[in-house]
């Protein structure tokens, strides 16, 4: 009797509460997020493509005319395209490489039972808490040609004979932006690898020790195989971030000297907002979007494979 009463109550509660079907209720809950995505992301990305098919300059709006893929042809055949593409890809490659090596080392050390472990783990978050802008400020001051720390340090160790302007010379400006980016984007990668290390069962290391496997053999045959997925995730995150780099370039080198550090994204910004050439600017921006898309597809396949995407 009491059970029946409870059941009836539960049912009536459910009907009064959910007059909507479960599916409709779910979409109602999703509505604010869907609106955000549709109005602020989906519409703009379609609109950007549409604009990239037009001749459109903000200073001469009357010349607005449909030109098909002409803007893309102009961008790809311009003198600036191949250098920008190679700057973008090389920047992404070396940043990713630098982060992977440093993050792996840091994760291995932070996984050891040493007294400074809590300190190291807390400090890993420092670059994460710093925005790209403050990171750029910091490195601009370090690379300062007169009073900068790098010149002072290298000079006092006798490694350079005279002060250099790191951000102004073609060979070092490139290294400078990579260093700043590696410093800034290290934390997520280090933490992902650390979590990967912590997931390795310790029995495997015990077994390897019984077999008298060397330190290197243990790393090569136990650690690395278990880390393959976290490493792949690190590579993808870094690649996605590297391709769209903007603030560090804008603030440290302004794309210079010359076009030495002009990435595709920086060219898109300059074309759209300095030359006010919206048509070509969006074509530049779409080259970034296409590179991103290729990597994103890899990423989603990976996450699907791990079962992270499920309903």
């Amino acid at each position: 009797m009491a059970a029946a009463e409870t059941l009836r109550r539960t049912q009536s509660a459910r009907t009064t509460r959910f007059e909507l079907s479960e599916g409709a209720f779910a979409y109602l809950l999703n509505l604010p997020a869907i609106l955000t995505v549709l109005l602020l992301v989906a519409y703009p990305i379609v609109d950007a493509f549409w604009l990239s098919l037009h001749r459109y300059n903000l200073r001469r709006p009357e010349t607005y005319v449909f030109v098909g893929l002409q803007n893309y042809v102009d961008v790809i055949t311009s003198d600036q395209f191949l250098p920008s593409l190679s700057v973008t890809l090389l920047f992404t490659f070396w940043s990713t490489f630098g982060v992977l090596v440093l993050a792996l080392g840091m994760a291995l050390v932070a996984n050891e039972r040493i007294p400074q472990r809590p300190l190291l783990r807390a400090l890993i978050l420092l670059p994460w808490a710093m925005s790209g802008v403050v990171t750029a400020l910091m490195w601009k001051w370090i690379f300062n040609p007169n009073a900068g720390a790098l010149n002072g340090l290298l000079y006092s160790f006798g490694l350079i004979s005279n002060y250099r302007s790191w951000l102004m010379s073609p060979d070092t400006s490139y290294l400078a932006i990579i260093t700043a980016n590696v410093w800034n984007t290290l934390p997520p990668s280090a933490l992902v690898l650390l979590a990967g290390l912590q997931a390795i069962p310790s029995e495997l290391y015990d077994a390897a020790k019984v077999d008298r496997a060397s330190l290197w053999a243990r790393f090569r045959h136990v650690t690395l195989p278990w880390l393959s997925q976290p490493i792949l995730i690190v590579l993808i995150i870094q690649a996605l971030g590297g391709i769209r780099i903007f603030d560090i370039i804008y603030l440290l080198t302004g794309g210079g000297p010359g076009y030495q550090t002009t990435t595709l994204g920086f060219a898109a910004y300059i074309t759209s907002f300095v030359s006010t050439d919206i048509g070509h600017g969006n074509a530049w921006a779409y080259t970034v979007a296409i590179l991103t898309l290729v990597i994103a597809i890899f990423y989603m396949k990976l996450l699907y494979g791990r079962g992270d995407v499920r309903s």
Partner: protein, 306 residues
């Protein structure tokens, strides 16, 4: 004879191998290098911000200030103190207080909107069966990867049409584009870890859904909510590209724009610049240290920053 040498050699190798704890030396050496790599660059910014202008410009650089001064920080509070520094970086310093306030308003608004939007969506994915749910989750994931560079022009034109340029609302709306997809992800995965018994108990008591969420579900899910708010706050606080494009006066300029003003100004005052950098880092750094554990688990779960 040959045998004796080889024995001696082996003995030597054994002493070397076990006499010196190479592994420990390596680990401690590496940890020291990493700690210095993390601390020194920012440490130097902090040290410079405590110097007088003249000392900061000395060649070779002074590492430790001879005389510690807080004037560079006080100048941000009271621009009248700037004195001769008024010309070098003084204008940027004068706007900094307003820009801090703008940054705080934007970042807190974005964080609160994300908590609301994220918990609604998170609940739907964690508890309800509906058609197209996996497609929808995929759409959110894909949204997270859209580069800001690809939509910046269109957003600019939209805000121009709506008359929202140079308002905080434009920044708040544009920051939803990269925070909401991330919050959805964090919330959906966090809400799945909460046992269903809680809500079942609440249902018997005929609470309505919103009551149940506010009284029962969200308090239990608060670590997820805090992580979501934290990520939204951090990425909004430091955002640069949209702020550069959509703001033009102190009505809406945020702290990153002020900092950028110092960095790109050729005649900038290094001490004011570095003090500004430290001020801009304090709020997110404090949050990161307070919520260290939550952030670490959030980063590894989401595996992407903003």
């Amino acid at each position: 004879m040959a045998a004796a040498t080889s024995v001696r050699r082996r003995r030597l190798a054994t002493t070397l191998r076990y006499g010196v704890p190479w592994r420990a030396v390596m680990i401690h050496g590496a940890s020291l290098v990493f700690i210095l790599w993390l601390v020194l660059p920012f440490g130097w910014v902090v040290l410079t911000s405590l110097m007088t202008e003249a000392e900061s410009l000395s060649v070779p650089p002074h590492w430790i200030p001879d005389y510690i001064t807080f004037d560079n920080y006080l100048a941000f509070l009271n621009p009248a103190m700037l004195g001769t520094q008024r010309l070098v970086g003084g204008a940027a310093a004068q706007g900094a207080a307003r820009a801090m306030l703008n940054s705080a308003i934007v970042a807190v608004s974005v964080a609160m909107l994300n908590m609301v939007i994220g918990s609604l969506v998170g609940y739907a994915f964690a508890r309800l069966n509906f058609r197209g749910s996996s497609t929808l989750l995929l759409v959110y994931l894909a949204t997270r990867m859209v580069p800001a560079l690809a939509i910046m022009v269109s957003l600019y034109l939209i805000f121009q049409t709506l008359g929202l340029l140079d308002t905080l609302l434009a920044l708040i709306l544009s920051y939803l584009t990269f925070t909401v997809p991330y919050s959805v992800w964090i919330m959906a995965s966090y809400f799945r870890t909460i046992p269903r018994d809680l809500e079942d108990a609440a249902r018997v008591d005929r609470c309505n859904w919103i009551n149940m969420m506010v009284r029962v579900f969200l308090p239990v899910a608060s670590p997820g909510l805090i992580a979501c708010a934290m990520f939204a706050f951090m990425s909004s606080w430091g955002e640069f590209l949209y702020a550069l494009l959509f703001t033009s006066s102190l009505n809406s300029k945020t702290m990153p724009i002020i900092i950028a003003g110092f960095v790109t100004d050729v005649n900038t005052s290094p001490v004011l610049m570095n003090a500004g950098g430290v001020l801009a880092v304090v709020p997110p750094l404090a949050l990161a240290l307070i919520f260290q554990r939550l952030i670490v688990s959030g980063i590894t779960a989401g595996a992407v920053k903003g």
